[in-house]
Symmetry: D3
């Protein structure tokens, strides 16, 4: 079970509203490579992952990603607080506003709701860990792209922290893969034995 | 941020594998009225909800639903452990198996991946709380239906616990709505003032 | 069966084309809380709803929502008639135009086609009526948001009429819920008896 | 606007419950080639269709399809009334039941909710009418396939009526296309002039 | 099987980057009426199509559409090469950029990923060929609309070539339909015999 | 552009119809980890991939996957030829049959149409190649699972060939990643430099 600690993993304090920027950052909330997908992917893959160390990695990272989801939500919320109508009308934020006012909804920047189609739980430890390595790289690129489009230091500060964590997770999943290979028997050295037989 | 406590909110101990039953129960993991949707709905609605008491209700219930998601995942996992091929072939579980082996993936019983289309964050406290009341009723009905199709006491025990909690949440959201009405000014008594002006 | 009466429930006469505004209003045609969803939700829920009075409410409101769908379609159509290319190029309407020219297609403002994922028919009268209360509130908020982004009186006039009707429907569903509670036996006072047993 | 006439276009009276058959027939309610899509396609295409005769055909057929949607809903409802648990458990109907009890929900037989992705409004009369011809053929095939899988005369009677109507609609759209060609100027004889210029 | 010939069917040489235009043209890559859908529709329909001549038409056109997909991809790629951040920020291209940088991803202009919901394989030759006629008309309209929004001769040159090919395909499918009618027996003259019996 | 060679990469000759097995194998046609996704992923990622050798790998593998898609389609087709109604009714194949007769449609075994949501083109070479490694592992597991559920040697023969090719592709993408790392400058050794700057 989960316990809530009433603080963010890293503080989010945005001074200047910027709905256009919010409508880009939302992709790390509910986009295909965002934090909702990350947390649900890892927390779901735990059940069929063999070996306690590997289950532990998925749990640790999954729980941390829930905290990142919360941070991204805080970013979007603070960038869209106390808006005047003139800050909404005719901007890229208007279509979002009409459906969600200034609520935080899990959608991609391009406008479609998050779907579990963008993640997989394959029930095979090598396939699942390789998917996780890919997920971390894709999240890292999204943060790269946000940094290119934002010049607000309050925002970039947070995005850089989150980007850094994706790289750390990528390394943890790399180590997990290494551990898995060692644990698997020799026939699996070329990734050929079905996981269901482990 | 979130902290993981390495135990389930309520114990799950399934003796007899039953993939057919698992392929029904998965709907409370990733179906339209399931626990993934519940947790993401409440945790997302927090940001735009006015008044600390109401934010608190959404956080409390959202965090508890994450724990229910974990319990439903444990049910599905334990019902599909150590299966023989003959327990899969030709059953309703076979289509799931081909794509996810015995992994736990957020899908509806009828087979489509969870999508945020089935939830809303409207950025308006009355609309959001009414959606929450509806969500709890719909989850309650899904548990009713599972109880009709299952005669495994190990499973039903857990489902009854989860069903009970939905009713408690329904009541908490009812009280939250009451509190909201009291806090809103008189013009809102017929739900007519846009929330963005509160 | 349905009979068509060749007039709108409330007249729509738009003088000034405004594709940007049309690309927002389309959300009440095919968005998650729009009129297509409303009519299909109520007309579908009728079959499993007990008691003739309640079936009647769902039919009445469902049929009226079909007429609202038609009015929203007329709004979008009249706002996008006789456009010059320069009124399309580079605006928020351009992506819509490339796929639908000036046709009226059921899509959300943010760009994804309407999906029945955004509605539910739970086959349980309490769950279904609570969903309907939520749907009316969400539609009301969408109209609030359109009013914030539009200053065309020809449009706002129509939107205010539609918004008003959602509030009336909300009240009718509230009364329907009250009636249902009276009809259900005492055991159901806490919403605990499965509807399938009624 | 629409007026409801409290009778079906053609009577539906099913004696024997058959949830397995219902779980196939539902595809004509909410499947990709079903009646929900048909009615929404034609009623949406009206706005941009030139010439009153053609608008009239789309309205007529669209309104009739709403009545067919109602008939298919009645079929599904009557095939799933008063079920015992043993008639649900382990059948193809079980996944549907867990999410919708015995309610009528717009889904394909294969289990995914109806989506407007399966229809188009192209805002071009030739493209739209050709899509309509295709839609009628596809609906006709679905009814062919249901007839192959059902041996209940109460059901087949209704399905044959609906199938017959699709063929009539196909012919009406064929005549509409003929009329359109005559009305369009010579440059359009090879379908080459953009409709927006008509 | 397929063999790759390292040249485009028609040359694509774009001098001036134009991400806004790219974000419209992408709809012919991954939009509902685009080339991905076209190629997959025809190549999938082949299997159940009777008569070698008709299978041949579907294969020929399907393979050519793969080549058109490649050309549209080249257009999008060349229009988004070597962009400066200032050419992205605040434009319609920004939401796409955050998720795909300058990669070519199969999405509609309005922002949702390509889905096979927008195509059908009905396993019936008349239904499938009528769908193909509709598909070619819809693709033709999309190219019409792009031509209205673009004034870059490098682009329009290519779009005109692709548009021309859709008209040729429309005629080929028309001839295929004619051939099919001749081959089918008299009972089918009104499209009434199920294809599965041919 | 693409040229069609009228033979399969590996022969498919199925003696015994088996629609139940077909309804599982279809997942490698249009499921989330199937061949449609594989070919479209690699052929789309080519445009933004730096270095001719890497573009070449993506093209080679993408074109081969198109041929695998064709082989899987042939499997499904041959397993569903000349069926009697009694081989369809009440089986897992019935829902598919009602919508597609015996046509080959890109859907997952669990019943939802293929969607590009299950693939990504991130426009970053490391992210894209890691995604490709994951894709090959996931496809490999699907083939493992089909082999568990099939005892038809005509089928298994083909599935084993396809499974083997996924492992070869995994190795090719591994070598491509190695080559990429060598080509990238030292700052990228920890995957930290945005690809757009290469």
């Amino acid at each position: 079970m989960f316990i809530y600690d009433k603080k963010l993993q890293y503080p989010v304090k945005i001074e200047h509203p910027n709905p256009k920027l919010a409508s880009i950052i939302i992709s790390q909330y509910g986009g295909p490579d965002g934090e909702l997908g990350a947390s649900m992917r890892y927390l779901s893959q735990r059940y069929s992952m063999p070996f306690d160390e590997l289950k532990g990695v998925l749990t640790d990272v999954g729980v941390e990603e829930l905290g990142h989801l919360e941070m991204v939500g805080a970013l979007v919320h603070q960038l869209t607080r106390n808006l005047k109508d003139s800050q909404i009308e005719g901007t890229n934020f208007a279509p979002y506003f009409v459906d969600h006012t200034a609520g935080v909804y899990p959608t991609a920047a391009s406008g479609f709701p998050w779907s579990a189609s963008s993640m997989q739980v394959k029930g095979d430890p090598i396939a699942d860990l390789t998917e996780d390595l890919a997920a971390e790289q894709k999240a890292r690129v999204t943060y790269d792209n946000i940094l290119r489009l934002s010049d607000d230091p309050d925002v970039n500060n947070v995005i850089k922290f989150l980007r850094e964590r994706e790289i750390v997770h990528f390394q943890r999943f790399g180590e997990a893969m290494q551990l898995l290979r060692e644990k698997l028997n020799q026939k699996n050295v070329y990734y050929m034995t079905p996981a269901i037989d482990i």
